[in-house]
């Protein structure tokens, strides 16, 4: 057994560290494309010519456990380039090929707590860090210091990179099913795995909704202006109706066993949770002020799905 394990680990290590020719060629192609997209200089900032590249398996070497977040999406390749300017702190660019535009949006949507600054197809700036997405690419542009002048420099570099990515990308198709009335656009989160959902809205440390790489999820927030409360709509798409049904049963059993008939329950915070299955989709509303409110949000979403 031990010999088998050692053999497996040896083979695995060789595969990870050496890569097969096809994968290597693909990586080289992506590298070449990404190098063309990042400028060699922006005004007085110059690339330090020490570019680094990391694929999915190598990404831990660069950012330890933080790599798990990017690996929760279809992340393909990371390019790291530092820009230097005499007498100024350097600016670091981490440029991610996320495989597809939906996942570029997804990783961007993970955190949108700060200021939209008009870079790319969506951006967020705070604490010296600019995050933006465009096409299938996502970027972090980071300054060691957060001063007005550094902010300008970070935004300039971000704009130049964004403009070089010519092809815009599509947001996840699930977004078009969200009821628009009262929706906080900036709070839309897109994900595949339950760990990412938990970051936004903790449901359970166990995967009771059976989420995985092949499931697509949206968490949307509907702030209630009068009460300052928030309703949350979780819309999940499974690869098949059968898998959706299995997840539905699992969720009911773990989260709302006391609501098997009505599919709605008043939870311990005095708010309502309600759920519905439609084909391969699950719709769940959390924290509604009443059962009726929860039902209205479910129905409005269903109308979008039925008319797709």
């Amino acid at each position: 057994m031990r010999v088998c394990l050692l053999l497996f680990l040896t083979i695995w290590t060789v595969l990870v560290t050496t890569e097969c020719p096809t994968l290597s060629a693909e990586k080289e192609g992506r590298q070449a494309t990404m190098k063309k997209l990042l400028p060699l200089g922006v005004e007085d900032y110059r690339a330090d010519k020490k570019d680094e590249f990391y694929n999915r398996d190598q990404s831990f070497r660069y950012m330890d456990g933080a790599a798990e977040l990017y690996r929760a999406y279809a992340f393909k390749l990371l390019m790291v380039r530092k820009y230097v300017k005499r007498g100024h702190p350097s600016i670091l660019v981490e440029f991610f090929d996320m495989g597809n535009s939906e996942d570029a949006f997804g990783i961007f949507s993970y955190q949108t707590e700060d200021e939209e600054v008009g870079v790319g197809q969506g951006s967020d700036y705070g604490g010296g860090l600019l995050r933006f997405w465009r096409g299938k690419y996502f970027a972090n542009v980071y300054a060691e210091q957060d001063t007005p002048s550094m902010r300008n420099d970070v935004l300039k570099i971000g704009h130049v990179i964004s403009e070089k990515v010519k092809r815009k990308g599509q947001k996840p198709s699930l977004i078009r099913f969200l009821p628009s009335e009262g929706l906080s656009e900036r709070s839309i989160r897109y994900f595949h795995l339950h760990q990412v959902l938990n970051h936004h809205y903790f449901i359970s440390h166990q995967n009771i909704l059976h989420l995985g790489e092949r499931t697509n999820g949206i968490l949307a927030t509907y702030p209630q202006q009068q009460t300052k409360e928030k309703n949350f709509l979780l819309l999940l798409q499974y690869p098949s109706k059968k898998l959706a049904e299995t997840a539905f049963q699992s969720f009911v059993k773990a989260y709302m066993p006391d609501a098997i008939d009505s599919r709605a329950i008043k939870t311990e915070n005095g708010k309502w949770a309600s759920m519905k299955i439609y084909q391969q989709y699950l719709l769940i509303v959390f924290d509604a002020s009443s059962e009726e409110k929860a039902g209205e949000l479910i129905k409005a979403t269903l109308r979008g799905l039925e008319g797709k």
């Binding site: 456990g65 933080a66 707590e113 604490g127 938990n198 009771i208 939870t267």
Partner: protein, 296 residues
């Protein structure tokens, strides 16, 4: 082992999640646990640990370490206290943490080295390392380990504390990432570390209480707590640390923002791997020094 209950948001709303987790990691700090022996940890703080330029004061750190270790071991003299931990014949590995954004303070490493030397260990038999421990001759032949790292939130494991600091003692760390890194405690049973840890020190000089940013680091969510948490039970230190980070989030945001993942690995290290005590009711925190904003 009994099957663990599925913990959901509703357990948090009911306030029963910590019961479900076996009483760990929760807000039950003040309640007494009857008839159970308590694990002692020492929290020492000094408001001058960081100067006005943001530099960590080596002299103050040494003083904090000395007072904390003396209190923990019931000694008055720091050298005698360290002689209780380390023999002159020991080969001592100091397992540090080099994470770029919030590393173990160099001043703290130096303070530990000084006392290990004072305990009679030749400098050539002392090593400090993090990512290179598996190839470091000192660590490979070590007879004693000192585990020291800063406390911070961590995307995948909830928090980065003493237990997680030993992940570099395995060659494929991400194999321990499943279920919010719950298997981390198993690493402590591997021959390279088992039974060797003489002291755990959680640096609270600066703590990161919330994740944001490219590497889950944002200086806006770093607190200058100016403390050290010292003990020999890594689970107890992490349980207290986890609670501190939660209280710091509440103090900062006015509400508790949940971690990306609950720090289940602390509870599992207790329940499954028998590494220590995670139940806050069974942990006695001896507090020394600066008291402003202690939270705990």
């Amino acid at each position: 082992m009994t099957k663990r209950k599925t913990i959901t948001r509703r357990d948090f709303l009911r306030g029963t999640v910590y019961t479900a987790l076996g009483g760990t990691l929760g807000s039950t700090l003040g309640k007494e646990a009857k008839g159970e022996e308590k694990v002692k940890v020492v929290l020492i703080r000094d408001e001058n640990a960081i100067d006005s330029r943001g530099q960590i004061d080596q002299r103050i750190i040494q003083k904090m370490l000395d007072q904390g270790v003396c209190e923990f071991l019931g000694e008055k003299n720091p050298v005698q206290a360290w002689e209780k931990l380390i023999k002159p014949s020991d080969v001592v590995g100091i397992k540090s943490n080099v994470w770029h954004y919030l590393p173990t303070p160099e001043g703290l490493e130096n303070a530990i080295v000084k006392r290990v030397i004072d305990a009679g260990v030749p400098k050539k038999n002392i090593g400090i390392d993090d990512r290179g421990v598996l190839n470091n001759p000192i660590f490979k032949s070590s007879t004693a380990l000192i585990n020291v790292r800063p406390l911070r939130t961590h995307h995948w494991s909830g928090i980065g504390g003493c237990i997680k600091n030993y992940v570099m003692f395995v060659s494929v760390p991400w194999l321990y990432h499943s279920e919010a890194c719950s298997p981390l405690g198993s690493i402590w049973n591997k021959p390279i570390v088992k039974g060797k840890t003489r002291l755990n020190i959680l640096s609270l000089i600066r703590t990161q209480f919330y994740n944001r940013g490219a590497h889950h680091f944002d200086r806006r969510f770093v607190s200058e707590y100016k403390g050290l948490l010292i003990g020999n039970d890594p689970v107890a230190l992490d349980a207290v640390g986890s609670r501190l980070l939660q209280l710091q989030r509440i103090a900062h945001f006015g509400e508790d923002r949940p971690l990306d993942n609950p720090p289940i690995h602390i509870f599992v290290a207790d329940e499954k791997y028998k590494l220590g005590v995670s139940n806050l009711r069974r942990i006695e925190i001896v507090k020394l020094g600066w008291t402003e904003g202690t939270l705990l």
